[in-house]
């Protein structure tokens, strides 16, 4: 009797015991920092007297002051606009290429598919910082093969690390790094479409292109939605690539992207309070976008299911 009761108690307690490490880590490294960031964002430092001696600097309630400062900061707005422009290139090009390659891999009688699939997926293994370095060198006129070829052809040699081309240079690094992974996700979804689905279309004389557009793409739509979603989130948080290119050009400022601005405020200027406010704003934008997007995707799925 006692042993049976103890056993059932053990079963009930077991899931909580198994979840204990994750819960402790979550509390320490997620919940506590988020709470602290919010606390910081609502406070500011007040200097008493000459600002000398202990207790001369005091953290006082600031209300939404940091937030209004942050939202009206032109550097942050400029950064947001730059990242929107960057994302407007990266997301459609990367997902377009990922879809294209996935469809090509899924074609009958295609050759070299395993080798090319592996090659296109390979950049996934290369750290973003190293990828940005490699491309950074390929953008440098002194060592780049592109400039060599353009020079021999007598064509103009644009500065890839300045102005408009800089957006393409940065976007290219993200496209290079992310296409393969997204291609694999879409390709896997394509592979799970049963062969019978194509049979009827083939009997009706549909071309491979028509099958791709009318059947394959609609059937992998959920994967496309998912890859789109993760691409947007990654774009909002771009940090390491522009940071890595910074030593190679004067055109990437320390506040090029919103995250770089947060870093610069916190560690360059030492103003952790406004950095915290900016970080909270970025988090809120990310969460609102995510939930809005997931809700929209869900309701569309339901509509389709209802039809």
């Amino acid at each position: 009797m006692t042993s049976a009761r103890r056993k059932s108690y053990g079963v009930k307690g077991a899931p909580y015991a198994f979840l204990l490490p994750a819960t402790i880590l979550f509390a320490l490294f997620f919940a506590l920092p988020i709470g602290y960031a919010m606390w910081l964002s609502l406070h500011k430092v007040q200097v008493k007297g000459l600002g000398l001696g202990a207790g001369a600097r005091e953290e006082v309630w600031a209300g939404l002051e940091n937030y209004t400062d942050s939202l009206t900061d032109s550097q942050l707005l400029d950064g947001a606009v730059r990242v929107l422009g960057y994302g407007a290139i990266v997301v459609p090009v990367m997902l377009g290429l990922a879809l294209l390659f996935a469809l090509m891999l899924d074609t009958d009688r295609v050759r070299l598919a395993p080798v090319t699939r592996l090659a296109i997926f390979l950049p996934y293994a290369i750290p973003g910082v190293v990828a940005a370095m490699l491309w950074g060198f390929l953008y440098l006129p002194d060592v780049s093969p592109f400039y060599f070829v353009l020079d021999r052809l007598g064509m103009p040699q644009p500065d890839l690390l300045d102005g408009g081309p800089l957006y393409f240079a940065l976007s290219n690094i993200a496209v290079w790094g992310g296409t393969g992974f997204n291609m694999i996700v879409i390709y896997t979804a394509l592979q799970s479409i049963p062969a019978e689905v194509y049979e009827a279309a083939k009997l009706d004389g549909a071309t491979p292109l028509q099958i791709a557009i009318r059947i394959k793409i609609p059937m992998v739509a959920p994967s496309l939605v998912l890859t789109f979603f993760f691409s947007i989130i990654a774009t909002l948080q771009v940090f390491s690539e522009p940071t890595t290119l910074k030593p190679l050009t004067n055109s990437v400022s320390t506040t090029w992207s919103p995250l770089m601005k947060v870093y610069q405020d916190a560690f360059g200027k030492g103003d952790i309070h406004s950095a915290a406010a900016t970080a909270v704003i970025i988090a809120i934008v990310t969460l609102v976008l995510s939930f809005g997007f997931l809700r929209a995707a869900n309701s569309r799925n339901k509509q389709e299911a209802a039809q």
Binding site: P21, F29, V110, I120, L122, F137, F146, Y187, Y263, T286
Partner: protein, 301 residues
Amino acid sequence: MSSLAVRKASPAAGTTPGTAQGPPLRRRIAFVPTVTLLIGAIYCLLPVAWVVIAATKSGSELFSTFTFLPGTGFADNVTDLNAYRDGIYWKWMANSALYAGLGAVLSTVVSAFSGYALAIYRFRGRETIFNILMAGVLMPPVILAIPQYLLMAKADLTDSYASVLLPLVLSPYGVYLARIYAAAAVPGDVVEAGRMDGASELRIFTRIALPMMVPGLVTVFLFQFVAVWNNFLLPYIMLSDDERFPITLGLFTLLEQGSNTPALYTLVITGALLAVIPLIALFLVIQRFWSLDLLSGAVKS
């Protein structure tokens, strides 16, 4: 525009209807798809090919000879890299291996425990705990990293191995994957049978469920290993002593100095090549085990 744009645009041209409907020329090979994939592969291999060749050039050859012409200085470059600050480069590599290896092992263990608990048991707060953990996926790293740094500073832990290792142990994505694998791979009957035999819950997990979850946990480990090896933001914020830098941060500081001393560029390039080799090797080995079904199971639903 750069030639990159041309390279990007050309595969798209392959989808035009005229080329997709085959002339009799290619009875056995789908020509357009094959060529499109080849162009994609060349695009993806280009920077890797470049770094392999550039690493063979001496400092003067780098700026004077054609990019894709091999140089004569590879051995010297490696010697220079070994000599740089008493071989700190290898210290960075070892640090990266430590962060990624230990981090991924710990992360996989935590994910396995959590995923198993969330998949097998019915208990109060199950979905709430799961949803709270998942919200961590959406949290931008920077909103975490700055307060994490400040809290670490209060605990006197900044600039330590722990400061880079500990925040990465809990991976919401790893928990999510582990939950899916546990639900798919561990039958409830087996757990029940274990209980009938009087085994403790911990014993059922370690002796019966864990072996069944191994293929899925390998994927969790690999995802996490790559994620930690590629991480830049957290060590960039936490560490100031370059003895503890991972390779990404070490190479970045080399590049930063290189903008003033171009002689360091050959070190950066050789260092980048040697840093990429183990990951490519790992990648080639693991892609055999990288079950596509598991990956898609992970991203669907």
